[in-house]
Symmetry: C2
Amino acid sequence: MNEKKRVIGYIRSQKEEIVWLLKKLVQQPSTRGREEKAQAIVVEKCRQLGLEIDLWDLDENPQLKKHEGFHCDREEFAGNPNLVAVKRGSGKGKSLILNGHIDVVPEGSRSDWDDHPYSGKEMDGKIYGRGTTDMKGGNVALLLAMEAIFVNDIRLQGDLIFQSVIEEESGGAGTLAAVLKEYKADGAIIPEPTSMKLFPYQQGSLWFRLYIRGKSAHGGTRYEGVNAIELAHPVMEHLKGLENERNKTLKNETLYQGVEIPVPINIGVCKSGNWPSSVPDLAVLEGRFGVSPYETVEEAMKQMEDSIQDLNSKHSWFSEKPVELEWFGARWLPSKMDASHPLLSLLKQNYREVMKEEPVVEASPWGTDGGILSAFGDTPVLVFGPGITEKAHDSNEYIVIDDILDAAEIIALTIMDWCGIERPCNEKGVV
Amino acid sequence: MNEKKRVIGYIRSQKEEIVWLLKKLVQQPSTRGREEKAQAIVVEKCRQLGLEIDLWDLDENPQLKKHEGFHCDREEFAGNPNLVAVKRGSGKGKSLILNGHIDVVPEGSRSDWDDHPYSGKEMDGKIYGRGTTDMKGGNVALLLAMEAIFVNDIRLQGDLIFQSVIEEESGGAGTLAAVLKEYKADGAIIPEPTSMKLFPYQQGSLWFRLYIRGKSAHGGTRYEGVNAIELAHPVMEHLKGLENERNKTLKNETLYQGVEIPVPINIGVCKSGNWPSSVPDLAVLEGRFGVSPYETVEEAMKQMEDSIQDLNSKHSWFSEKPVELEWFGARWLPSKMDASHPLLSLLKQNYREVMKEEPVVEASPWGTDGGILSAFGDTPVLVFGPGITEKAHDSNEYIVIDDILDAAEIIALTIMDWCGIERPCNEKGVV
């Protein structure tokens, strides 16, 4: 197929351009509440591609906050819009959502970065900075795949719906808002950092908060108090036990072969005390509870709740001062795409064609907006992208430039196969 | 001595008045930076007692911040003045400083308080609230002791120097400022919460900060990171080993008999992470390092520094990512008053007279401004007060009203003995 060669040729010619675009995107730190400037760059690119632009603030729809899938503690959305940009097909093909998030997680401790966290520095075929891998590099691959098709005057049969959403890192309110605007499709690709693996299954996750109570005292008589920071240790050990139990059988599942902990329990935040000379009477832990694609969110919550109750009943101190569990903020639903789904087959096939090797198919170690797209948008989701799984949320985050190009090729070919190509009448007669 | 009976009688008659005064003081939460309103009540009382008022903001003396005893991270002192109020004696007696601090530590977790932390609630002969024990109750005892002397027209021979200072809880800049104004004396009493014990020795203390570095990762692949909150545990265990070593021999000292940990190491603050779904790469611990009266601050610091270095050299992770130690903010010098000091003998004697029992003499489990008064003001210090040692910095802090009265009596009698009483000429002939 001649079109495919032209598309691949174009993608290969755009290396400098996409490096330039990704640098610009990374240099606009789009942490929560600051997505505007990076989003503006994406909007401009979509206009150049001739897409229909739908740009809106999440507060515009009062139904959003009432939706069962809305788990979000953000108060202000104004000025940091969500974007959906559509290329209508001729109407006879299958539609496809290409979904990426524009928000990035905070950069963490600056001293752990060798360069400025938003440098966009290019070195040894990589680009560095928060968001390169998770997932501005993936977004650039989507834009490049679309551009390669359009500049080659290839007309698709199915609709192509590109989404650049906010709030993915905080529970998916951006994608949910798009679903509520009826952006649904026959399939979706999300280029989250899979290290070029295919993730038809995605882990869900919930955020939790634990209140651990000690007993305050003056630090000079610290033995009269009970230090809440110290108490955090047995709580964390207990959670490791729960994590171990939850993952025992999961490790045998095909898609979790070789994964150390399929659905981890992570403690991400600890806050305790406000005076060096006092024994702190409260420690607050915040964390992420992985939800397996083989269970519902409700089942996962119940297991955690029972486990904390168990800790409280057995531990001498906590039986008096029970640890309190609270679910809060973000929530990502797990998601499953059938092993026989044609989008998965097509992507596998194009992967083989471009990479000349067999793709690795696994379950994702994190939740994505795929949970919302599939649960509320009836859209089957496949996660596949050029970012490096272990560099997501890490210091010195980077992406390999060639992986962006490879992903763009695989995705472009899959778009053409999935949506179908509209040929002029005179061409149809030719074989 | 007739005067002593009159003084005691007056103090006994003032129970309602001092309850009222203490409630007013407690209901003005004088945490750091908010000392003004509570201080205003003390100033007003001193005016009524006819004392010479010296009220000043700590920024007034540019030398203060350059002094070797200044360890303070406060930027703004304006509007929250320090108070020294003096009653000049006839000049022939020994001078005495009565020193109390007006600042209180924060109330901690509100849910641990049965009532509002600044309620000043009276129940079962006690008054509740942050600052009752540490040390507004002690301050009230001082004011009452002075009042009982003055209303009975007893003229002292030595100067009486009452101090209501800020910043004691943060390292003593208030008392240091008074020392730099040349407020020194032949002796000092500080009514910190000793549970009516006599503390001629006081523990010093230093604030430290520890930076514990892990390795960040996405929470869904937490096994790729190293959680800094988890790493805090071995660090805290290591510090317990150091604490144990430092206290082994101290426990045999006379003044530390029966004290569980004479000079504890307390972890008061833990801050780590800012995203539930990330593995945090930094945990910051803040704490208080007790300094024994038998060592210098420098010796204590050296021991801690060596110990952290030892941890870093032996621990597999910390040898790569060393724990970093920083001394910051507050610093309280240890202090010692000779066992044979006449102020100690007098206070013991008056304790026996009022309490009809032998006083308990110990070393304080915390630093006080006594360290500054003795080191930089050449003033021997005895700490004795009505507050309850174990309720200092605790929730549901309270003080027993009768203890305030008892302390006021013991202090009033000691003032009269120490400063001496000036008698009219005609009285001198009588005996």
